[in-house]
Each structure stands twice: as C-alpha cells, then as structure tokens.
C-alpha cells in the first residue's frame, strides 16, 4: 500500500543523531511520518496520551537522561495498549549484555548506530522495510527478532 504512510518515532537525547536520522529518513523512498522525542519520558508521555496516534515503529536510544531506553521498552511491553508496538533499539552499545537484555525485554530490532551516513540510511531503510513486511504479511511476530 504505497499510499499509506508509516508512522515512525525516534527517542534520542542526542541532537546530532536526531538530525542525521531525519536526513536519512528523508533520503529513503518509503513514505514516513517521523516524530522526534528528546528522551524516554517524553516518548512515554506521548504514547500514553488517550488519543495518541500509534506509531508503526519506535526507534529507541538506550542511553537517555530522565528515562532510558530499557525502561521505556519495559513500560511499553507492560502496557496492554502499547505492547504490540514494534520497537527497534537504536544504540551505540554493542555489548552482548545490552543486546540480550533488550531482546529479552521484548525489543524486535537491535540497531547499532552506524559510523557512516550511508550505512545509517541503509539501516533505517532496512528496518522500515522489515517493519513493513511484518505489518503487511503474515510473518510470525513472536519471532520478530533482528540485529542490524
């Protein structure tokens, strides 16, 4: 459904990263509506609004002030209204411990922040595509687990 827009949100305290992410989204062909949040609390405040438009995909930085990514993830998975949302962790950390912990807490995708813009663009595109597939095809969401 090429006409449908994908609603994507990004929660990241780093301004530069947010900026680059916007630029990357702009460069890819999938139609997206991107919302940005400065930290976890902001995101959770938005999501828990009664008439909030549910995003198709959430990019979540782990290391954030006020409320970090892992806390957000746990809250999302514990909230019956939000628990089916697709969450992609977007972090600098490549420690196995972090990766495993987020997966165990219900993250669908773990993305290491790339070291080049082109890679960033590719990664974002791939995540969007994956998410798209999981939304439009009958792929098994229980095993929706990717590391990019």
């Amino acid at each position: 459904m090429s006409t449908t827009q994908l609603n994507v949100v990004l929660a990241d305290d780093d301004e530069d990263d947010r900026m680059l992410f916007v630029e990357a989204i702009d460069e890819i062909s999938i139609k997206t509506e991107l919302s940005l949040f400065n930290h976890g609390q902001e995101l959770m405040d938005y999501l828990t609004l009664p008439n909030a438009l549910m995003p198709n995909l959430i990019f979540l930085d782990l290391n954030m002030p006020i409320k970090n990514g892992l806390q957000c993830l746990k809250e999302i998975r514990e909230n019956p209204k939000l628990k089916d949302l697709c969450v992609a962790i977007y972090s600098t950390s490549s420690s196995e411990k972090d990766i495993e912990e987020t997966f165990l807490n219900g993250a669908n995708i773990y993305v290491n922040k790339p070291h080049s813009f082109s890679k960033l663009r590719d990664v974002v595109e791939k995540v969007l595509q994956l998410n798209w597939q999981y939304h439009t095809s009958n792929l098994n969401k229980d095993t929706f687990l990717f590391r990019i």
């Binding site: 530069d16 950390s93 420690s95 196995e96 070291h115 080049s116 813009f117």
Partner: protein
C-alpha cells in the same frame, strides 16, 4: 531242554549218513564201470593198431617178393627154391596172424580169402619164374617178361586188397579213438562231482551229529547239576531178576545215586553205585519199602512213601516218590526231618501256652484284688501311633477303682477310650510327654503333676513304666506332702535370696565381715572377705597369724599394736591398713568391730571395707590438683598472650571471680578491685554502658550467651574493645556463668581498615565500571559522530574537495576508524574479569562453529580453509572462549601469506600437566591442548613473548591493520581459565598458537 527233539534230529542225520554211504558206493561202482569201459576202448584201439601192423607186415612181405624177384633176375641165384619156400612160410605166418586178428571183423575176414588166393598165386608164379630161370639160362626173354608181368599183376591185386584193408582199419581206428577220448574226459569229472557231493553230505552229517552230541552233553551236565544240587535224594535202580523165576525180582541194583545220599545218609554215591539195594539200605527192606518198590516197577505205577528212618541213631523223616522209568525205578526222597521237628516244637509250645494262660488268669485275679486294695491309682495305657510311628495318643486299657474319688470317672466306662477324651489335660501339663518318654527310653519316669478339679488343686506323684507298647501309670495323691515341701522350699529360697543379697551387697560395697573369737583365736570370714584377700571363700584356715601374713610390711607394726590393744583393752578403733592380696595387689582396708557375747564367749564381730579406690582417688585428686595448678599458671600465660581473661559468675549467689589477666587488661594489678558488677560498670565506656547492661540482662534472662562487644576505658584511660563470650553450667547445684573476655581492639582496628579498603575497592570498581561505560558509550559517541559527519561531508561535498583534501580526508577517516577499533578492543580487554562465577560447560566445537559463522564473510573472502579436530568440552565462559577463537582465527586471516590461500589447522590432544612450563600452577593432572597452526606470514619465535603484550605490534600499522590488543586479550582469557597459551612461528612458513585448558 528238548531231549526228544535232539533225539529225533539225530535220527534224520543218521539217515543222511546212510544216504551218503550209498552215494559213495554208487560212485565207486560208477567209477569202476567207467574205468572198465575205458580199458575196453583202449584194447580196441590197440587191436586195431595190431591189425594195422599185420597189414604192414603183409606189405613188407610182398614188397620183399618184388625186390627178390629183381635180385633173382640180377644175381641169377641158383639156390632160389629154398628162398621161396622160406618166403612162402613167412607169408603164411603173416596171413595166419592177420586171420587171427580180424576174426571179430566180418568185412576184413572177407578180404582175407582173396588175399590168400592171391598170395598163393604169387608163390606159384614166383616158382614158375624160378623154374624158368633155372632151366634155361638166357631163355627167351619174352617168357620171362611175361612171367614178370603176371607177378606184377598179382602184386598189384594184393596191394589193392591191402589198401582196402588198411583203409578200413584206419576208419575203425578213428572211430575207436573218438570213443576212447570221450571216455577219457567224462569219467574223471563225474567221479569228482560225485565224490565231492558225498564228502559234503558227510561233513554236514558229522557236524550236526557233533552239535547234537554237545547238546546232549550239556543236558547231561545240567541234569547232573540238578541232581547234585537238589535237596532230595535221587536214585535210580534197575531190578535184578531171580535166575530161576524171571518174573520174580529178588533185588535192585543201584545205577545212579546223587550226593544227597552222603549228606543225609552218609553213603558215598560212588561207593554205593553198582551195589544192590538190600545191602545198601537194609533198613528199608525191614519196613516193607522194598516190596513197594517191586510193586511200583511191576505195575508201572507211581508210589509215595512217607516214613521215618533211623540212620546212625538219628531219626530222620523222608518223603519219597517212586517213579517207574524205562527198565528201572527212580527214587526221589525229600528230607522232611526239620518240618517234623518244627511240628513237634509247635505242639510243645501250644501246650506251654495253655498252661501259661491258666497262670495268667490266676495272676489277673490276684492283681485285680491288689488294685482294689491299694490306695494308688493304677492305669495302663496302650500307645496309639501315627504313620510315622510317633505316639499321638493312648488308649486306656486298664484303670482301677481309685480313679473314681479323684476324677469321678467310673473305670469300666473309660476303659478302651482315648486319653485325649478322658484326660485331655495331660497334653498340656507335660504328662503326655513324660509317658511318651517312658515308652521311648524304656526307663521308668517319676513325675509330679497338679490336678485341678472344681478349682481345688491336688498334687499327684506318678510313676510311668513301659509295658509292651504302652505304659503303666501308678499315681498317688501327694497334695499334703507337696504343700509342706513347697513351704519349705519357699523358706529356703527366701533365705538364699537374703544370703545372695548380702553377699552381693558385700561385693558391691567391697566389704567383708568377720567374727573373731579372741580367746580361742578362731575367726570366721565372710566369702567376700576372702575375695577381698584375693582368695577363694574358705581357702585357708584363719587365725591372727595367718591373717597377719596379708598385712603390708609397712603397716605391720601398727597392726600388731592395734591387735594387742583389742586383746587387752577390749576396745576397737576404726583404722585403715594396707594388705597385700594373694595376687600381690596392695589394697587399703578400713576395719571396725565390736564385742558381743556369743555362746557365752566374747567375740569380735566386725566389718572391713576395701577403701583402695577411695584412697587412690584421694591420691589422684591430689595429683590432678597439682596438675591444675600447673595448668592454671599455663592458662594465665595464655591469657596474657591471647589478650583474654576468664570470669566465673555464680548466678545463684551472685558472687563472681575474674582471672588475673582481666585485671591486667584493665591496666590494674591482679585483685586490685573487688569483682563486683558495680566495679565492672565503672570500666565500661559511658556510651556503651546502657547496651552492656541490656546485654547482661538478656543473657541472664534467656540463659543463653550471645557474644557481644563493648568498649572499655581502662584505668590508664585507653579505650579498648572487649568481646564477651560464655555459657551457663551447673556445678554443685549452683548455676554458674563461665565466660571469656577478649581484647579485640586490634581486630576491630583491622576490621575497620579492611572495611575502608573494601569501600575503596568498591569505589574503584565502580569507577572502573563507569570508565567502561565512558569508554563504551561516551568515548565512542563523539568518535562515531566524527565518523558520521565525515561521511556526510564526503557524501555531500566530496567532489568539491581538492585532491589533497581528499587524501587528508581519507587519513582522518583511517585515524578515526583505528581509534574506534582501539577503544572497542580495550573495552573487551577490560571486561575480561577474573571472577569465575559465570563458568559453565562450554562445548568448544559449538564455540568454534559460532566463531566460524561470525567470520564467515572474511573466511570466504580470503578463501581460507579451517580444519578442526573434534574438540572437547571445558569449563569456562562462553563469550570469552568465542573471543579467544575469534582473535586467533582473525589473526590467521589477517596475517595471511600473499601467495597462498590461508589454511588453519586446529589440532586437539589431551596431554599430561607435565607438558606445561613449570611456573604455571597446575590445576589439573590433564590438560586439553588445542593448537592453531596457520600457513601465514609467521614470525620469529624470539618474539613469541612480546606478541602477547598489550600494544605490541611486530608490523607497521600500514602493513597490517591491528590494535595490538588481540593477543593480549587471548592471553588474559586463557589465564582467566587457568590455562596457558604460547606461540611459535617461522617467518614465511606460518605460526602456531597453542592453548592449554585444564581438563
């Protein structure tokens, strides 16, 4: 054995034999005939030959005439007439001869007549010729010739006849030869066949006859054996007739007699054989047996005789059977002497039994009266046995009237009944067993048994005696006697019990008693007194002197003194002295006594007690006291050394004691202050006082001592930490609190120091952790940004950069990438901590697979091959092991040779710990040795230590990318697993990394 059959068969064989003889005769005659015929043929042949010869003579005769004629003619013999006459005579002889020979042959004889005529004419012609010659010499030749031809013609005729005759004879010869030949061949064959046949029949007959003979011999032997072994006399007699009256038998001749004759009658069979009956058995003639034998023979009837005879003054009985047989009689006599004797004995027995019976009846009557008159119960039981012949019950055969007052049974009613019905009680009180025993052992048994009737106990004494297969029981009521004896027994028992108790008491208390008659110097000692002396009771006769020998030499003086005093002053004092027992043991005896009057005599009755244990215990106590004293000083020293003191509080009366060292610990002199609670409290730190009191209270209430600490201020105003421990115990009915006080000031200080250090460590750990975080995140973040923006610029403005700018840009990128790699490697290095809490079982094969997976792209890119042995499982941290493998393998991929496809061989071997260098602390006896052998650029083995150091590189940065941390990480991981890693290499050939893990 069928004698008849044998007899019959032998007959047939005799017939056969006769046939054979006939055949033989026949054969002989046949042979004779044959020979005769042959002789005849031979004669015929010979005759023919003779004829032939005669004819031959004839030939020679006329041939002679022929030649004579010539001679006559040539020689012109003048005396020819005589010659012709002789010749003529010769011819006549030949003819006669011939005539004689062929007299049996008609045809030849026919030939002879013309021959005779011809010969005669020949003679005449010859004479003519002669006469011619003689009369006229040289007479006309023609006549002579004529004459000659006439002769020749005659000669020719003669020759003709001769030839015919010869021919005939030849034919005859041939015929006769054939006949002869046939006779010659057939005669011997026929003879031979017949002879063989006769021989065959002979052999068979002879063989069969021989067999029969054997059988007969066997039968004879059997018969003889039977006759010899039979118990009967078997004799065979042949009658002897009267010479005058052939019908009258005057005697018998014994033809056969068997051995029994000797056994029974003492007559040797050989001796009596051939003798007459009357001279052998004269006694049988007298009793008329002889007549019976005669009668049996004459009438051809069997006769039976049954009579006794007296042989050698011995009466014998014989049962005899007389059987007529062929031309004699067979006597068979059975010796029935024994049977007759038995019969007689039986008769005797019967008589005796009858007599006994009568006596028995008398006895019974007597017994019956007896039983009636006696006071005993008399019973007789017959055993009833089961299949195994064991007695299971008794049948009452007899019981006298005395049973009635006891059991109220009537004798006649219980007769023939079972004891189990009438006296079931005997199966429970052992009586049955007694009765059985009496029967089985055949010995009388006496027993006592109670009988309960209407709750009243009666006692009976019974005697059981075996009689036949039964038992006679005589029972008498002993209830009264029993009662009396029971009382006596009870009394006795009580006494003996008391005695035993007394004896036991003496043993238990180690005491003995004595009675001493001073005047007579006679003493009596209790058994235990003897035992105290190490002797058997009453082992020796006691007197003052004998007893004195037991006294210990050192105590003798004292003992004598006391003895004297007792005798003199009649006063006894308690005193203790030593004795030496029989076995040589020293004992302490305490003695005492008193004077009493006994049988008007004054005697000393006294008691001794073995107080050895008490004395020894006192000695021991003294010794242990000494020991304790020593230990106390020792303890005091220990207290000083261990900075501790002990205290004891009697909680019952609230008194307390403290050891000297406590005083010292409080910087006081021992016993400087009174050990009261009040005094103690003054030393307690004011801040801890309330707590101290609370603790004390709690301890006293709960009766459990929970160790506690408190601060103390000593007399010198130093603050010390004291630790109190203790426990409650009861001693002599008082409750005590025993405790220890320890000066733990130093410990507390050390503890505080440790706590401080710990805190510092925790802090530094936290700092390290936060550094990690900084390194992993915060340090990487700016770097990543740098990279991102660099790439952004490159994307957007890359083409606007100058050539130099592009180069610089590339350098920036490289530097940043390196920096990033360095950071991430350092991070890895620092993360390998040595805590072993996450050790788990690691399958190295799986780890290697995962690493190969991770490196799949690079492996493929380098066209590398990795060949691995089957690897073991070890204990370790999975991700560390994976890191190790990754680093080693990526090293091999990185430092690959430029001209060869990289190849890594992973070889596994389990080895002994001794293979590891000495300085490694071996955790296990066996190690897993895993070596990674590559064919890369290799290195000089002299660098094999250096390559494991952090930031050590053997190559230029530009040559090979790397941070110089990879192998350091490897070493740290291996060490963390208590393993060992080393490397060796050769430049241009390859390198080998060897890892050891404890197995």
């Amino acid at each position: 054995m069928d004698l008849k059959r044998i007899y019959k068969s032998s007959k047939t064989y005799i017939v056969l034999l006769i046939i054979a003889v006939a055949l033989l005769l026949f054969t002989t005659s046949m042979a004779y005939k044959q020979i005769m015929r042959m002789q005849e043929s031979a004669d015929m042949v010979a005759h023919t030959l003779r004829v032939y010869n005669a004819i031959g003579d004839l030939t020679s005769h006329y041939s002679k005439a022929d030649s004579e004629e010539f001679r006559n003619e040539i020689l012109k013999n003048k005396a020819a007439n005589s010659t012709i006459a002789a010749y003529k005579q010769e011819g006549k002889t030949v003819i006669n001869n011939l005539e004689f020979l062929v007299s049996d042959n008609e045809s030849q004889r026919a030939h002879l007549k013309p021959l005779k005529a011809l010969l005669n004419s020949l003679y005449s012609q010859l004479i003519n010729l002669d006469s011619i010659t003689y009369t006229s010499n040289a007479v006309p030749f023609e006549i002579r010739e004529n004459q000659k031809s006439k002769i020749n013609k005659t000669l020719f005729d003669i020759r003709g006849i001769k030839n015919r005759m010869q021919k005939q004879e030849e034919n005859l010869l041939k015929k006769r030869e054939i006949v002869y030949k046939s006779h010659k061949s057939t005669a011997p064959i026929v003879l031979l066949v017949l002879a063989f046949f006769a021989l065959f029949v002979f052999i068979i007959s002879f063989y069969k006859i021989y067999l029969n003979k054997l059988e007969i011999r066997k039968s004879e032997f059997f018969l003889k054996t039977v006759l010899n072994t039979t118990d009967n006399i078997v004799n065979y007699y042949e009658p002897i007739f009267d010479a005058h009256n052939s019908n009258h038998i005057k005697d018998f001749k014994i033809v056969f007699a068997n051995n029994r004759n000797y056994d029974y009658l003492g007559l040797q069979p050989k001796a009596i054989t051939g003798k007459t009956f009357t001279e052998t058995f004269p006694f049988l003639v007298d009793n008329g047996d002889f007549d019976k034998l005669v009668k049996s023979y004459k009438e051809n009837q069997k006769v039976e005789l049954d009579r006794g005879v007296i042989v050698k003054n011995k009466k014998m009985w014989f049962y005899t059977l007389v059987t007529p047989l062929l031309n004699g009689i067979l006597i068979t006599s059975r010796n029935a002497t024994y049977e007759e004797k038995t019969k007689a004995a039986q008769l005797e027995l019967k008589k005796r039994l009858e007599k006994q019976n009568l006596e028995l009846l008398d006895n019974r009557a007597f017994l019956g009266n007896l039983f009636k008159s006696i006071s005993h119960v008399v019973m007789h039981f017959k055993s009833i046995r089961d299949k195994n012949n064991a007695i299971i019950d008794f049948e009452i055969l007899f019981v006298n009237d005395k049973i009635n007052p006891i059991t109220s049974d009537i004798p006649s009613e219980i007769k023939n009944k079972k004891t189990s019905e009438i006296f079931p009680g005997i199966f429970n009180n052992g009586v049955f067993e007694n009765l059985v025993q009496a029967i089985e052992t055949k010995t009388p048994i006496t027993y006592e048994v109670p009988y309960y009737e209407n709750g009243y106990e009666q006692w009976f004494k019974a005697t059981a005696i075996k009689l036949g297969d039964g038992v006679t029981v005589t029972t008498v009521d002993i209830t009264e006697e029993k009662k009396r004896s029971d009382q006596l027994i009870q009394l006795n028992e009580r006494l003996s019990v008391q005695n035993t108790i007394f004896a036991d008491a003496e043993i238990l208390a180690a005491t003995g008693s004595y009675i001493w008659d001073i005047d007579d110097d006679v003493s009596e000692l209790s058994d235990n007194y003897y035992r105290l002396l190490g002797c058997e009771p009453n082992e020796f006769k006691l007197s003052f002197k004998t007893y004195r020998s037991f006294i210990h030499p050192d105590d003798l003086q004292e003992y004598d003194k006391k003895g004297l005093e007792i005798a003199k002053n009649k006063r006894i004092e308690e005193h203790t002295y030593r004795i030496i027992t029989k076995q040589g043991n020293v004992k302490y005896l305490k003695t005492n006594g008193q004077f009493i009057k006994k049988n008007n005599k004054t005697v000393v009755v006294g008691v001794v007690q073995d107080v050895t244990a008490v004395v020894e215990f006192e000695n021991k106590l003294k010794q242990s006291n000494d020991n304790l004293k020593f230990q106390n000083t020792f303890l005091e020293d220990a207290e000083v050394l261990g900075k501790m003191g002990s205290f004891r509080v009697n909680t019952t009366n609230n008194s307390s004691e403290i050891s000297d060292n406590i005083y010292r610990m409080l910087d006081c002199k021992p016993h400087e202050f009174a050990p009261t609670p009040k005094a103690y409290f003054t030393f307690v730190h004011p801040d801890d006082l309330s707590n101290f009191k609370k603790n004390i209270n709690k301890i006293l209430v709960s009766k459990t001592f929970k160790p506690f600490r408190c601060r103390i201020i000593t007399k010198n105003e130093t603050v010390k930490y004291f630790k109190f421990t203790g426990h409650f115990d009861t001693y002599n009915d008082d409750e005590y609190l025993f405790g220890l006080i320890q000066d733990v000031t130093d410990d507390i200080k050390a503890e505080a120091f440790l706590k401080l250090k710990n805190r510092e460590l925790t802090r530094s750990n936290a700092e390290l952790e936060s550094f990690n975080r900084v390194a992993s995140h915060d340090l990487q973040e700016p770097l990543r940004k740098l990279q991102l923006f660099v790439s952004r610029i490159e994307d957007r403005e890359g083409d606007q950069l100058s050539e130099k700018g592009t180069v610089y840009f590339g350098k920036i990128k490289n530097a940043v990438t390196r920096m990033q790699a360095l950071i991430s490697n350092l991070l890895t290095y620092s993360r390998i901590d040595s805590t072993k809490k996450d050790f788990e079982k690691v399958n190295l094969n799986q780890a290697l697979d995962k690493v190969k997976d991770d490196l799949a792209d690079r492996i493929k890119e380098a066209n590398a091959s990795i060949i691995a042995d089957k690897l073991p499982k070890i204990k370790g941290v999975v991700f560390q092991v994976e890191q190790l493998f990754t680093n080693i393998l990526s090293n091999a991929l990185k430092y690959k040779s430029t001209n060869k496809a990289p190849k890594v061989q992973i070889v596994y071997k389990k080895v002994s710990a001794s293979e590891l260098p000495k300085h490694i602390i071996k955790e296990s006896k066996k190690y897993h040795r895993i070596s990674f052998i590559d064919n890369g650029i290799g290195f000089d083995t002299k660098y094999s230590k250096k390559i494991f150091e952090v930031f050590q590189r053997l190559h230029q940065k530009t040559e090979y990318s790397g941070t110089g941390i990879g192998l350091a990480i490897c070493e740290k991981i291996v060490e963390n697993h208590n393993g060992y890693i080393f490397a060796k290499g050769e430049v241009g050939v390859g390198s080998e990394f060897v890892v050891y893990f404890p197995a």
